[in-house]
Amino acid sequence: MELLLILLLGIMYAAGVYLILRRSMIKLLLGIMMMGNGTNILIFVMGSITKGKPPVINTNHNIFQDIYADPIPQALILTAIVISFALSAFAIVLLKRAYALLQKDDLDDLNTPEEEDI
């Protein structure tokens, strides 16, 4: 299970880097989102996965006796997901506006000389 996740993580990072290095704005966005999800899986793997052992104390115990899942990585991933949700929502709106203005999907065309700055 862990090995599978680590492979997935590597693929997601590689695909993310590849997409970011393309020229298209949409691929840039997809790459960023993919790398963000890769990072979330990294935190998940780093928190050492235990199967079927939630961090819940039985009613008749007052301490953890078994191996249990670390709850913090889940909290971290949840926070990271919320943040990346906000970021990608903003990025989609931004790229849509930029595309409406430029009519091009090429990052190399983002250098129109500015007539006058404000």
Partner: protein, 502 residues
Amino acid sequence: MIDNHILAAIFVHLITAILQLIAWRKTITQRYLSVGGTFLALIVAIRLFEKVYTDGTLTLNASNWEAPFGIVFVADLLAVTLVLLTSIAGFAVSIFSTTGLSRQRMMYGYFPIFHFLLMGLIGAFLTGDIFNLYVWFEVIIISSFVLMTLGGRKAQLEGAIKYMALNILASMFFLTGIGILYGITGSLNMADLAFKIQAVKNQTLIGITSIFFILGFGIKSAVFPLYYWLPSSYHTPPSAVAATFGGLLTKVGIYAMLRVFSLIFIPDDFTKQLLLVIAVLTILTGALGALVKTNVRRLFSYLIVCHIGFMVGGLAMFTKIALMGTIFYLIHDIMVKTNMFLIAGVIRQLRGSMDLAKLGGIYGEYPKISLLIAIVLFSLVGIPPLSGFWPKIFLFQEAFGQGQYIYVAALIVGSLVTLYVIAQMWSEVFWKNAPDPSVLENKFEPMPLFKKILLILPVAILAGASLYIGLYAEGVVQVADRISNELIDTTPYIEAVLGPKR
């Protein structure tokens, strides 16, 4: 010592933002709220600074969870100094925004987002938890994205895409670093990490993790190979926004580096060498960029990059005097850089342009304003009694002492280029004969006196702060001295967070 009032400044900004959201589209109410809110935050920040200066580090366990488990907020002297400076800069920018910004931008929610940005900055300075630092960073960058695109001109959107892509990448590096760090140590509290890092056997892994943090904070603070987003985006938003960005955003990166590399990853020789090389190249490339630009704000953008190198160099040497230089420079830089972009806004109001070729004759028409601006420019260059001069003495002294002659040379080149660029700008903008009046678009002259004061007052406030830093350097040196002591010997910080039992 535990204190509930650490977060007061954050709540002041948050509540101001909420009230402004309720007063959506009522721009006049929003303006009053903004000036009132930043003023209140300034008072709160001054009180917090006084308290920490006399009583020492204060902490606050959010949600009443004990220190290594919950999120802890730590107000040590470095943090509260930066909170104070942020509040001063925020107050000035807020006054400037009331007139220096088009009404259309205010309609789209400039003020609430501005307050969210200030809240994020203060939170980032005060937190003692590394993941919480990441969250505050995200609050900062999301607000800055919105501020940067507000208005939606073509150049702004183009700048914003570059800014967005690289800043998201930076937070991703930062988050990856945090993930690995948590995997190694199982802790997120920075004071707790300081212990657990030392106990880790595989120190090479720690070194590699620290590279993630250098990359993440390096993009944020715009150091050499990672700064290209800054000059290609900072000249696009309105001046009030650029002032907040130029004065404060890159400095959060420097703050995070100072915090993380003094507390968690104590720099070894390799890291020091790496940071020093980065610093030298940042100074040189920033200076070269500033030499060739003919637009006031593009020029200032490169000067930001150049001066970031000074501070990174001080961190790289990592001795008490070098850190004093860095911290003094940080204090000076926040005040001056914010003011520089406000001045660019004033110039734009006076002449309707920011291109050096189209400017001129401001000294002849407005001698008093020009003299005020001259104080700021001299502070930036570092003419002896003014604020830019003192930190460089410390940096020079330490660099000579350690025999880092390349860094010394870079410092000299950086200072001279700053002098040259500013002198050139002064002669082009203020002394040169005014261009043909038909191309001028003077928005300043027809304004009522009240609005004129609102434009000039923030520049005067920040110039006053710079003068204070320069002329009462003794007091600032004492603060910098205590901060650098706390950075070198982190035991008081750790004891304040985790209790004295360890």
